[in-house]
């Protein structure tokens, strides 16, 4: 039988177009990796994306278990983003003065296209955020997730809870209606009673504190809720508090990663002691890394510190071992006369 010559099949016409586009310099400068479903691309999808790289590439299975996490931390963050966006839109239509504030609200509700929708989303989103942040705290407590090594991050979370209340409270005044000023009046009246600082608090008479020179006066910019209060709460609500909250959120999320990711049942019932041990190891390894870097910076060779110098110390993966029991025994060989790993870590 005569051999037939091989004729390659003609590619469909769109394939060439697709190839032209995806091979183009401009395309490749934006998208750094392909989209075939393989492990490498899945990892790159996270690592190469500025928003997604908040996440690690892999998480323990229970971190995706909704019944465990409730997703309330993430939903709180989502609501913060929604509130930022709707808040910026609202700022285009609102002037924080006695003369304009209420009228601007009326105009927003009656004249501005989608004005009511944006305002309602902002208000209901704010209420929802207070609820979700409380539920997040409740979940973190019930799962004991504040235990070592996450003690500090719990404290950051408590401050963020307070900031959520303050953000909501300062925003409550801005509509400048009866509901607003009286709710804020009731709330800020408490400042009168601060010991040593309020005009009606303990020791006030001995310090000469009056309604016009105490801490409430500083807070309100006057002896009652008025125009200076409106401006103070406006700037606090739109700039000052969101700035602090965003900064602390960065710390909060970063610490979630550094403390070993979302908490979980990693090392049987002695998890806490194990986590303490790992936190120690992490600190020592960091120290070793820093020392190594500085020696290199002086032009000397990296010192062979300990004969059992840890291989994982160099690997960036080892920087977050607390998520797994498996990484810990390897870290046990860290320099600096580290303690032997607790018995339950040896499998």
């Amino acid at each position: 039988m005569a051999k037939l010559p091989f004729v390659p099949p003609k590619p469909p016409p769109l394939d060439k177009l697709k190839k032209d586009i995806t091979q183009h310099e401009a395309w490749k400068s934006i998208f750094r990796h392909g989209y075939q479903d393989n492990q490498r691309n899945r990892a790159l999808q996270i690592v190469d994306n500025v928003f997604l790289h908040l996440h690690p590439v892999r998480v323990t299975r229970h971190a995706t278990n909704y019944a465990y996490t409730w997703g309330m931390g993430g939903i709180t963050f989502l609501l913060f983003i929604v509130l930022t966006i709707t808040g910026i839109i609202l700022m285009f239509y609102y002037r924080p003065t006695e003369a304009f504030a209420f009228g601007d609200m009326k105009a927003l509700m009656n004249d501005v296209s989608f004005g009511p929708l944006i305002r309602n989303m902002h208000r209901w989103g704010a209420h929802a955020m207070v609820i979700t942040v409380m539920l997040h705290m409740f979940r973190v407590f019930l799962t004991g997730s504040y235990k070592p090594p996450r003690q500090f991050n719990w404290g950051v979370g408590v401050i963020l809870l307070l900031l959520t209340f303050l953000l909501s409270f300062t925003g409550y005044l801005l509509p400048w209606d009866q509901l607003a000023i009286w709710a804020v009046t009731v709330g800020t009246n408490m400042a009168r009673a601060v010991p040593l600082q309020g005009s009606e608090g303990p020791f006030s008479n001995y310090l000469g504190l009056r309604p016009d020179n105490d801490i409430r006066f500083i807070l309100l910019g006057g002896t009652m809720v008025g125009e200076p209060t409106l401006l103070r709460f406006y700037v606090g609500h739109c700039i000052f508090l969101p700035f602090i909250a965003a900064t602390l959120m960065a710390v909060h999320f970063w610490r979630v990663r550094k403390d070993g990711g979302i908490s979980g049942p990693v090392m049987d019932t002695k998890a806490s002691a194990g986590a303490k041990y790992i936190a120690e190891q992490m600190a020592q390894k960091r120290l070793a890394q820093i020392k190594g870097v500085s020696t290199n910076g002086n032009g000397k060779a990296a010192p062979a510190k300990a004969p059992a110098a840890p291989k994982p110390a160099a690997a960036p993966v080892a920087a977050k071992p607390a998520a797994t029991g498996g990484a810990a025994p390897a870290a046990g060989a860290a320099p600096g006369g580290a303690k032997a790993p607790p018995p339950w870590l040896k499998k």
């Binding site: 899945r42 299975r61 995706t64 993430g74 309602n120 209901w124 409740f138 307070l162 409550y172 049942p265």
Partner: protein
Amino acid sequence: MGEAFHNFWLIVSKPDNIPIVLMMILISYYCWLAYSQARRNDRKGIQEAQEADKVQVWPYLVKIEFLATILVLIILTVWSITINAPLEEPANPTLTPNPSKAPWYFLGLQEMLVYFDPWIAGVMLPTFILVGLILIPYIDINPKGNGYYTFKERPFAISVFSIGFLILWVALIVLGTFMRGPGWYFFWPWEFWDTHRIVALTNVDFFDWIFGIPSKNIDGSFNLLQVGLGALLVGGFLVGVPMWIWKKYKTVSPILKEMGVWKFAGAAGLFMMMAGLPIKMFLRLAFNIKYVWVFGIGHDLFFNI
């Protein structure tokens, strides 16, 4: 019946009160979710997570986040289309509404004003709540129950926090919103919020009520016997009880031994302050007790508790 609850329905369906109804539903659901998992874990034990159990974030976690985002945005959008945020009459500093209420999430604190003076209810208690919350991880030395739902392994911690959150925070918010009417008087759900209601209350101080020892002498100065007894009572409650427990159990209890005196003092002090709130609430509501300890210095410095 319908008439009786009409007033209650008006309050419940106020736009700004809808979040509280939502919160009650969510908290009930999540309590059930948490405690049912805790019961299952306590019965069957927990599975230790293994390195091999790890899954890739793309798509296993991102997928869930994406769905949750869509769901939350749909709920928020529908909520915002159907219900308008309240906008009342323009601000008028000369017209005080009755009742005047703080935003709903502070109504638990406003409720505490019934039982304590403002410097305690409005300043010290919120401060201690925040400080106490931050200190929890350093006080709670129990290594168990890190990263899973359980009750059996940390019954004290779970009980105290659940009571604190569900009753002293959430339930007081609900009470303050739905059952505190004009004059901050208590109204049952079927009662009409009568702005002219006057309740004749004769509040009495604790030692006057129990031993007939008045807080002040006839000339207006402090009754030193009452001041001394009050100091004994409050000091004994906040400091004496923890000290007695420490003395009695420090050699017996391994927990106390591991805590050491300072951690125990901090934890016990915070706990007794927290326990003081429902005790004072009970004394006020059941016996109209105003203060358990009236004392001060001179004529304008009062520390009534």
